[in-house]
């Protein structure tokens, strides 16, 4: 049985190409990995006195940088974020906690298709998941990877696919 086919999942983010938020007087670009083309275009369109580029290697570095520099962000600031999906939502949460509003945070579509999956049985986050079902890195259960996405944790919900019958394992599908 595939319960997800019975209703439309609305929590999966839909990313639009990012554009410069024109009235903003301060544009901050936070990038982990390569800068996507739409962000590069936006960056070029910003006056170089009003733009700042912050390159970080991972979420922890982003957290440290935001903690240090948040007081420099103005009420009119816009932050553009690029990286993998879990990273961009992690940064979005940090910025929201600092008081930024949704229209001030622009998330670039993640380049990679892999997902972070939250196991609803052991609460472990498995990273780099590309197929469903996937083995939970925490409890080794075989998880169906759903499209239910949590913006708070930047992860998709996974639940044990063969809980009733260990032998009933659906065909592996590549996640899009």
């Amino acid at each position: 049985m595939q319960p997800d086919t019975f209703f439309e999942v609305k929590s999966r983010p839909v990313y639009q190409p990012i554009k410069k938020r024109n009235p903003s007087l301060q544009h901050v670009f936070i990038v982990a990995g390569e800068m996507p083309e739409d962000m590069a275009t936006t960056y070029r369109h910003c006056d170089n006195t009003k733009r700042t580029l912050i390159l970080v290697s991972d979420s922890e570095k982003a957290k440290k940088t935001i903690a240090e520099k948040a007081s420099l962000l103005s009420l009119s600031a816009t932050v553009y974020v690029a990286g993998d999906e879990s990273f961009i939502w992690f940064v979005s949460e940090l910025l929201t906690a600092k008081g930024m509003l949704p229209e001030q945070i622009k998330l670039c579509a993640p380049v990679e298709q892999y997902r972070t999956v939250y196991c609803c049985h052991c609460y472990h986050f498995s990273t780099g998941v590309t197929h469903s079902p996937a083995t939970c890195a925490g409890c080794q259960r075989l998880l169906a990877v759903t499209d239910h996405f949590s913006r708070k944790s930047g992860a998709y919900l996974g639940y044990q696919v063969n809980a009733e019958d260990p032998a009933d394992i659906p065909e592996t599908q590549e996640l899009s």
Partner: protein, 316 residues
């Protein structure tokens, strides 16, 4: 059980500014409810010829269930509700009010609250203040008034709020530099405006120019239904034709004809009274429907909107 109407007695009437009277309302047969800051009640006023129903912000302490207080500015050029309250209502009279509803609650996640009141627009903020203080929230109040007409409670506000209060009396030439209110603000600052539409528009425009995100701006405009050209409502299901006169809102005409339409704010904000439109051209005057919905012309908010065509067929 939901409560549609609460009978109250007018216990006191106080002139709190040259054009503003404060009414204290006591319950008659059921206790009053505590309410959230920014709440309003709809007061029904029964004249010889018609029933006025106007929404007024509660200005009393949100936890005080012994009485409610409202403050009403006399509007000489209006459809008559405020004039009725000023001229016809006396201590000891009975009025009917709805239970409190709230379209203008504070954003409690905000790190700073900047309140901008214009004239009688001070009223919703009167119920904000006790809770902002109790939560030890960071806030400031900018009060724009004309002392020859408005400015209710200005002295007590100045005294109790100290440095968090700034008053601007345009009758003595004091002006508020609204653009300056947006300068040097920290992230998480939210702005609240209550006052005439011109003030709301001015603050919104200047905020946009300053790059302040639109969702940091919250407002409650007085949008009492404005008069217009008479037209007819046709009820699709029954064929009943109801005339709406120039001074009456569609909602009032429907109520006068005993056609029940659920409603709450009566000011084009909450969306409760939405009616589907089958035929006819709408003169949209509400703040609830999106531009696209207004263009589609399939829904009308009868509390404030009217018809451009001679007839509006509604599907209720």
């Amino acid at each position: 059980m939901s409560v549609d109407s609460i009978a109250v007695t007018v216990a006191a009437i106080v002139q709190v500014a040259p054009a503003i009277r404060e009414f204290t309302l006591l319950p008659i047969d059921q206790p009053l409810l505590p309410f959230s800051p920014g709440s309003h009640v709809v007061v029904s006023m029964i004249d010889e010829h018609k029933v006025f129903k106007n929404a007024y912000s509660l200005i009393s302490h949100p936890w005080d269930t012994t009485s409610y207080r409202i403050a009403i500015r006399r509007q000489d050029i209006s459809r008559g509700g405020s004039l009725f309250m000023h001229e016809n209502v006396a201590v000891g009279d009975t009025l009917n009010i709805t239970p409190p509803a709230n379209m203008f609650a504070p954003q409690w996640f905000a790190k700073k609250h900047v309140l901008i009141a214009g004239g009688v627009g001070i009223t919703p903020f009167m119920s904000y203040l006790p809770e902002l203080k109790r939560r030890e929230a960071d806030f400031e109040l900018h009060y724009l008034y004309r002392s020859q007409l408005t400015g209710a409670y200005k002295d007590e506000l100045a005294k109790t709020l100290g440095a968090r209060y700034r008053g601007y009396d345009s009758d003595t030439g004091e002006r508020c530099d609204i653009a300056a209110l947006f300068a040097q603000r920290m992230l998480g600052t939210h702005f609240y405006i209550c006052g005439p539409e011109s003030l709301v528009k001015c603050v919104k425009d200047l905020a946009a120019e300053s790059g302040v995100p639109a969702s940091a701006i919250h407002y409650e405009a007085f949008s009492a239904p404005q008069p217009g050209t008479p037209f007819d409502i046709v009820i699709k299901s029954t064929g009943q034709v109801i005339a709406v006169d120039a001074q009456q809102s569609m909602l009032e005409a429907l109520e006068a004809a005993e056609v029940a339409v659920a409603n709450l704010c009566r000011g084009g904000v909450c969306g409760q009274c939405a009616c589907r439109v089958d035929q006819g051209e709408i003169d949209h005057r509400d703040s609830f429907l999106s531009k696209a919905e207004k263009k589609a012309g399939a829904t009308v908010m009868p509390c404030v909107s009217r018809a451009i065509s001679k007839q509006l067929v509604i599907d209720i």
